[in-house]
């Protein structure tokens, strides 16, 4: 190619510049190309299976019902209830456990324990993006913002979702790495349901003098799939989740902060 790109300078000069550009572009250090082909094939197979069955949202409802029926049956037997399965209920969120109910004394190991790996959602896929002002119009409860940490400010993204009732998801991005979520605060209004599985390590704690739960693992959110909205078990932050209630509202703070710091954020809501 011998196009002249810059009329104000000589042709040889431009060609040399373009050659340098071409060499640098050719030498660009791309990350290794992942195996996309097999993932795409698996996804197509999954979609084919999904078409053959019920839509995902319907299947989710049925799966939840089956879980509840199973739990109901198990819970009817006292020995089984004690030994096998229990759940915690806090506000709108029910956390299914396979271990006995946690004690109010945190286990020493949890302070440094790493969360179990679960899919971290991309903000690009979260459904219901809106603004804080619009979200305030959509829900009939006041949307509260943390005043701690002091530099937090207004959320960088706001999502209004529907999980049996209105849910507002506020997201703050990491200033140093804006592709990463620093903090997310979910405010679940009346009528919302939130079943949480695989909670990992669970501790009881206190927010504003009331019982709260410090857990980890994914939870149900709405995601966009093409032109449709669907439900999935995900999380936004590689960290843990503090759940507490105030009145009819259930709050879920997702953060990689320590428990003490998370409680401080929770108690700063205004």
């Amino acid at each position: 190619m011998s196009e002249r790109f810059f009329g104000r300078t000589g042709g040889n000069h431009n060609e040399a510049w373009e050659a340098r550009l071409r060499d640098a572009a050719r030498a660009f250090p791309y990350p290794p190309t992942p195996d996309i082909a097999s993932v795409v094939r698996a996804q197509l197979a999954e979609e084919a299976g999904r078409k053959a069955g019920l839509p995902v949202s319907r299947r989710l409802v049925w799966a939840a019902l089956i879980v509840l029926l199973l739990l109901g049956g198990l819970l009817a037997v006292p020995q089984v209830r004690a030994a096998l399965v229990e759940y915690l209920q806090i506000g709108a969120i029910r956390i299914f456990l396979v271990e006995p109910t946690p004690t109010s004394t945190p286990l020493p190991s949890t302070a440094t324990a790493q969360p179990t790996p679960t899919p971290i959602a991309s903000l690009l896929d979260l459904a219901g993006e809106t603004t804080l002002a619009e979200a305030s119009q959509q829900v009939d409860f006041p949307i509260r913002l943390p005043t701690y940490p002091a530099d937090l400010g207004q959320p960088d993204a706001v999502f209004a979702q529907e999980l049996g009732g209105p849910v507002v998801v506020l997201v703050w991005l990491d200033e140093a790495d804006p592709s990463r979520v620093r903090l997310s605060l979910h405010q679940l209004g009346p009528g919302t349901f939130g079943d949480k599985g695989d909670p990992g390590r669970v501790e009881e704690t206190v927010v504003n003098g009331r019982r709260a739960i410090w857990a980890e693992g994914p939870y149900v959110l709405q995601f966009r799939r093409g032109n449709q909205v669907d439900y999935d078990l995900r999380r936004l932050v590689e960290g843990r989740v503090l759940i507490w209630t105030e009145g009819e509202i259930t709050y879920r703070l997702e953060t990689d902060l320590s428990l003490a710091e998370a409680v401080r954020v929770a108690e700063s809501l205004r």
Partner: protein, 197 residues
């Protein structure tokens, strides 16, 4: 490199035909042949390997669904790259506020410009600086430079991928490179200093 886009060869046409019948294995083979170019373009546009992987996967899923619209007399790679670019742009539009925040942050905290010294001017350092410079350009300028220089598409393939006439490729490249040169002179003076007018 040919300046004329090559249609899908007989083997590819057979695979496309099978994939159109819903044969996921045939599509997997085709994806394997083009995944590198698609992933790389997505990476250049998004700047994040995980996001690029997601976008590339979605691009191939969309292409599979739109396969009946694909003209087998045309080359497949530019068609896939066009889908990828559109997908990335649509995602950007859908989360405009999010990306605007990122862009604001990037502008507020520009990456430190490390002028490569003669002994430190490794090709990958130059390439990384060049990429930073290209990312300062508008999306249309970025696209044409990525297709033509980073992915080394021919003018004809670039025209197919960007959905423009071949003659327009040259004029758009000319303008994009002019603006790139200004960005380099202004923000990356250490890069190819001797070539900046």
């Amino acid at each position: 490199m040919s300046e004329h886009p090559q249609p899908a060869d007989h083997k590819q046409q057979t695979l496309i035909s099978q994939a159109r019948q819903g044969d996921a294995a045939a599509w997997e083979t085709l994806v394997g042949q083009h995944q590198e170019a698609v992933f790389r373009l997505a990476y250049l546009l998004l700047g994040d390997a995980d996001e690029a992987k997601d976008a590339a996967q979605e691009a191939f899923i969309r292409a599979f669904r739109a396969l009946h619209q694909f003209d087998t007399t045309r080359p497949m790679r530019p068609w896939l790259l066009r889908i990828t670019t559109n997908l990335v742009y649509n995602r950007r539009r859908a989360v405009g506020r999010y990306l605007a925040a990122i862009q604001r942050l990037v502008r507020l905290t520009p990456e430190p410009v490390m002028a490569p010294t003669p002994e430190a001017s490794l090709p990958s350092e130059e390439s990384a600086l060049l990429w930073q410079a290209v990312r300062r350009l508008n999306p249309a300028d970025q696209e044409i430079i990525y297709l033509r220089y980073f992915l080394e598409l021919s003018v004809a393939e670039t025209a197919e991928a960007a959905n423009i006439a071949p003659g327009t490729v040259k004029s758009r490249l000319s303008r994009a490179l002019g603006r790139l040169r200004q960005v380099i002179a202004r923000e990356f003076p250490g890069l190819w200093k001797e070539h900046v007018a």
